[in-house]
């Protein structure tokens, strides 16, 4: 496969994952506008921006948004910023546009069905204006965005050979997911978190990672940071956990570069092994009944970032030798 094609497939899915994640976060925030207290809503916006890797103080200065009179008006502005604002590189429309541009680059590789599936979702979002949906049920817009992207992944999963192309797409999806979940957890958890909050935020965090029901089954109704971390960092069977992302990176990379073990393998393999070690170390301490620790998040997040760099250096921007 062309190196440039691999890169476009990878970035196409990174942008889609970012769009879908943003859509879920904004949907949850919009749903609490009619019911939450002004302070809770302000906290929600701060956590949301921090979770997306932005500095919340740029958008939600302390003390703002705490007045009922401005709650919806400011909510509209922030929602628009996150959804349609072309000046915001991370807005959902800009991310969808970037995903589509990457898909256009690889139209001949993904085939017409996959292309049309993405193009339809892009056109639907581009045709929408927030002002038209804001006064009805704005969360439906975000449900449609997220479901549209899930549908797209479904089309890819069922119509593509799960070879190199598909695996680069998977790497894009799970690298992005790991970074977003890691960033969201860092905002919520640990003594060092700048956004310390009460129990009301845990359900929102879990729902934003499609993990609310799983948490309930596992731990019942009481929300504890240690349990949330256990689920979203270490649970191997939960699609939004960091451990799950790591397993997907392992399987994707083994298809992309199937050199037998023992041979010298490129740097991304070494990084995945380092991540294995970090998770194993945690499992050992867990067996000793030590409480889950948010401090393990930092090194894990760092390794996921390094994996991205190593991937690009090894398979896309490598030095040329015939």
């Amino acid at each position: 496969m062309l190196a440039r094609v691999a890169d476009s497939l990878y970035w196409m899915n990174r942008y889609l994952e970012r769009t879908e994640f943003s859509a879920r976060l904004v949907s949850l925030q919009v749903q609490r506008l009619p019911v939450g207290s002004a302070a809770e809503i302000a906290k929600g916006w701060q956590l949301l921006f921090a979770g997306l890797g932005a500095d919340p103080s740029e958008f939600v200065p302390p003390g703002s948004l705490e007045d009922d009179d401005y709650l919806f008006a400011d909510g509209y502005t922030l929602t628009d910023l996150l959804t349609f604002e072309t000046g915001n590189p991370a807005s959902m429309l800009n991310c969808m546009t970037a995903a589509r541009e990457n898909a256009r680059e690889v139209r001949s590789s993904i085939g017409p069905r996959i292309w049309s599936s993405l193009n339809r979702e892009y056109l639907a979002l581009r045709r929408t204006r927030l002002v038209d949906v804001w006064k009805r049920e704005p969360e439906l817009l975000y449900r449609d965005i997220a479901e549209g992207i899930e549908r797209f992944h479904g089309v890819c999963d069922t119509s593509m050979r799960h070879g190199e192309e598909w695996c680069f797409m998977q790497l894009g999806k799970y690298v992005e997911r790991a970074q977003l979940v890691g960033s969201l957890l860092a905002a919520h958890c640990g003594e060092g978190s700048a956004y310390a909050h009460g129990d009301a935020e845990w359900p929102v965090l879990l729902r934003s990672c499609n993990a609310f029901e799983a948490y309930g089954h596992e731990y019942g109704g009481a929300f504890e940071e240690g349990n949330v971390l256990q689920l979203l960092v270490h649970e191997p069977e939960l699609p939004f956990s960091l451990r799950f992302c790591l397993e997907r990176l392992h399987s994707g990379l083994s298809v992309i570069d199937p050199a037998p073990p023992g041979e010298s393998r490129p740097p991304p393999f070494a990084i995945l092994h380092r991540l294995d070690d970090l998770f194993d170390r945690y499992a050992e301490s867990s067996a000793d009944n030590e409480p889950p620790d948010s401090r393990s998040l930092g090194p894990i997040r760092l390794q996921f970032r390094e994996f991205h760099d190593a991937l690009e250096r090894s398979y896309v921007y490598y030095p040329v030798n015939a």
Binding site: R4, V5, S108, P112, I256, A322
Partner: protein
Amino acid sequence: MHADPTGATNDAGLGQPGPASSPLFGGYEFEERYHDEMFAAPGQPRPQCHALIGALTELPADELGSLQQRVNRALLHEGITFTVYGDEESIERVFPVDCVPRLLLASEWEHIERGLVQRVRALNLFLADVYGRASILRDGVVPEDLVRGCPNYRPEMEGVKVPLDAYVSVCGSDIVRTHDGFMVLEDNLRVPSGVSYMLACRQAIRRAWPRVFRGYRVRPVEQYGAELLRVLQSLSPNGESPSIALLTPGIFNSAYYEHAFLASEMGIELVRGDDLTVEGDRLYMRTTRGLRPVDVLYRRLDDDFIDPEAFRRDSVLGVPGLFEVYRKGNLAMANAPGTGVADDKAVYAYVPRIIRYYLDEEPVLLNVETHLCREPEGLAYTLENLDEVVVKAVGESGGYDMLVGVHASRAERKAFAERIRANPANYIAQPTLDLSRAPCLVDGRVESRHVDLRPFVLHGAETRVVPGGLCRVALRKGSLVVNSSQGGGAKDAWIVEDREWAGR
């Protein structure tokens, strides 16, 4: 003459009151001056068109409107678009496709096919000759200074061995029809585009009219990709399982959709210049597992841009050193560099003589009368008749730098005359042709619009023409310009058997 040609006022043609009285054709203009593709005369549909007219008139008006909307929506979702340069608002536009197909009888098609095969064979012989022994120039059949002075003549190609002597592997000639018959308006021998729109049109229209399509037993076009792949494989200098790639300028090129479509159809890589590199004497593409050699390049990039070391120094789209790999015979390219000399609009005037010279045959298809402004008589004729002729720049395509005298203002003609005088060798003039007209769906009614036809010829070990072509339509009422960049659209061209309609 304005009349309802289905016979709403004169029912002699159909002999059935139903379709004939349909308001659908109420605004249809039949003019004797133009060959009408659907009607032989007012009230007299051509025999092969009865079933199509029946299908059109059976549908309620709102159904017809929604049919056209469905076609447009499908094209939008599938991203069947082209790019308009200089339009900052939206560089991608959906290719406008009209719902009413154009019908051509097999006998008409076979005449076109014979003429195109003859033409492409002769033009390939001409190219091998002008870059080789140049006998046609020495014999004075085509002026040497015209060929050597042509901006698309590439001296770098002199003496280069071209696989199978197939300089032109893909050709898209523009055919027009007047009351005099079918004529070739121009040959596109460099990087002809439009074939993907032909295939997209076919898919859309077949979906829109499934029963009618089946009833007509239309000749298929879908094999184009497989046939093109066979031609490209046959050119390979390096064995039987060549590595083939399609070179595109990228997503901002107006024909990018087509490049992606064709690469996908053929199962070959779609590459940009920055995916390719020359190492030693070979061309390679950069893959996730290192460099992989390329044997055949179907390049959709003009000569000027393919290699900054050989042609335009400022090109960032091509590959440095590519032409040297080609010259050494380690790479085949379709089409070969330098083919533009044979589709130059001034050289076009000599094509009938070229056919006679190499094949000793009379041309099957007519050429349009052409006046060369490089010659004093041609220049004088052009300037005296500027209000009647169409003037074209010899090296341009896509409807750019041309004047349609009858539609131009006095000031526009005056300004164009100055350009011609300043550089007469750059222009040719042709009479304004009475292009045939075909029915199109416009705002829920059927109206007539001017059309041409671009069939696609593939030339390798043998020469084949895909039955049909891109039927281009001048969608603006009265316009003669069919280029998509200038407000044109397309319709599906159906080749249907003659015998099916005999005696109807």
